[in-house]
């Protein structure tokens, strides 16, 4: 009992010590930033600069053309400016293929995914020996998604055929979400373009499977909802919009969950800069630690929810054409 109490006190004291040290270093760094900021930006002081000393939460969650890598200098970081691969025109739209922080993080997540799944876990599929190491974890998650998400939503046939896409989406979103918690890295899925792309892929799969299952005319007939033809002018626009609101909700849900967590953490740490006192770190850093633990949970939950909703929406398109008839008005 005394030992547990002593352990609690020592660990809390260590957290406070680390918090005080990092806050002191951070406010020393903030002094340098303040001088540079005041010199370079006369009019943008209202946007979210907390106390003018260099922790702008909005700037930290937005995409940028530079990345920071750990480097043994005063700021403990070296800024690398990323190149652009040129621009091209599509109709009236100019698209610039610039490598940004989000792109680099997407590559990092993909590389991690390839290493973990393709190199470490996939060989167990065709081998006789039981899985070893991280392959156990991947297999557990794969079986869970197959048996609890894919087959219940899509039925036996499509449940197995669409499993590769669902697994890819789950692991990719999970790795991207968790990457945001690593120091110096950013969350690719905290960028709405990335989540919009993932939701677009899910949209294509949902509609593609529905068209393949019911045929093009059957899919159009499902858009009318099985009502009398006089009600079609009301029904068809509503169903058509409903087609697009589902991926839109997927986009915003994932983006907002990832970004909101980071903004809360940055706001809590920004309190240290507002009060300009390292002692605030004693309150700020444990709260941020708690929010970061919550972020780990949210990363898993959001990856699971994205995958589950994709499976459920696809299942609606697959099963609804079997349910025409007595239960037509659904």
């Amino acid at each position: 009992m005394i030992r547990r109490l002593a352990w609690l006190v020592v660990s809390f004291g260590l957290i406070l010590l680390v918090a005080w040290a990092s806050a002191t270093i951070a406010s020393a760094v903030g002094e340098d930033h303040a001088a540079a900021d005041v010199a370079g930006q006369p009019a943008a002081a209202e946007g979210g600069e907390h106390g003018g000393q260099g922790l702008d939460p909005v700037e930290h969650v937005l995409n940028s053309r530079t990345i920071q890598i750990p480097w043994p200098n005063g700021h403990l970081a070296k800024t690398i400016v990323l190149p652009s691969l040129g621009t091209f025109q599509v109709g009236g739209l100019t698209i610039e293929m610039a490598i940004t922080k989000a792109v680099v993080m997407l590559w990092v997540a993909s590389a991690l995914l390839i290493v973990v799944v393709v190199i470490l876990a996939a060989p167990t599929v065709h081998s006789d020996r039981p899985p070893h190491g991280v392959a156990n974890l991947i297999e557990m998650v794969t079986v869970f998604i197959r048996d609890e998400v894919s087959i219940p939503a899509l039925g036996r046939h499509y449940g197995r055929r669409l499993l590769p896409y669902l697994l890819s989406v789950f692991f990719f979103v999970l790795f991207c979400n968790l990457l945001g918690l690593v120091p110096y890295a950013a969350t690719p899925t905290g960028n709405i373009s990335v989540t919009a792309s993932l939701a677009t892929l899910s949209f294509l799969m949902i509609q593609g499977v529905a068209i393949k299952e019911a045929g093009f005319t059957g899919w159009l007939r499902h858009l009318t909802g099985g009502v009398h033809w006089l009600l079609w002018p009301i029904m068809v626009p509503v169903e058509f919009l409903g087609m697009f609101t589902k991926p839109f909700a997927l986009t915003i849900r994932l983006f907002a969950n990832m970004t909101a967590g980071h903004i809360v953490i940055l706001a809590l740490l920004g309190l240290i800069f507002i009060f300009r006192n390292p002692a605030v770190a004693a309150l700020s850093v444990p709260f941020s630690l708690f929010i970061m633990l919550l972020e780990i949970l949210v990363a898993f939950i959001q990856a699971y929810v994205f995958t589950m909703l994709t499976a459920v929406f696809t299942g609606l398109g697959v099963h609804s054409h079997h349910a025409e008839g007595p239960a037509a008005a659904h």
């Binding site: 009019a43 209202e46 979210g48 915003i252 907002a256 909101a260 903004i263 959001q302 929810v305």
Partner: protein, 89 residues
């Protein structure tokens, strides 16, 4: 003339910041209420039948995540209001 425009813009931004704060307050209140009701139902279900607690917990987490998604739709709008400056008014 330019100064007048900047003054009007600053009032608009003050309103935007106020709206962002009020909106965030409402969102937190309603999300807390909604997820609290899920938690209440989950607790009662687990109390009636402790063997089902794992399934109830899974459903509770999924429902909480979906409701939190809706709360975050509103948060995105509040953030859009809160980051307005004279430059992008």
């Amino acid at each position: 003339m330019d100064q007048q425009v900047v003054e009007v813009a600053k009032q608009g931004i003050a309103m935007a910041h106020l709206a962002a704060g009020l909106g965030a307050g409402f969102i937190t209140f309603s999300a807390g209420l909604g997820i609290g009701r899920i938690a209440q139902a989950a607790m009662e279900g687990t109390a009636r039948q402790p063997e089902a607690s794992a399934e109830i917990r899974t459903s509770m987490l999924i429902s909480a995540a979906l409701i939190e998604g809706i709360a975050l739709f509103g948060e995105v709008i509040c953030v859009l209001l809160a980051i307005k400056t004279v430059a992008n008014y």
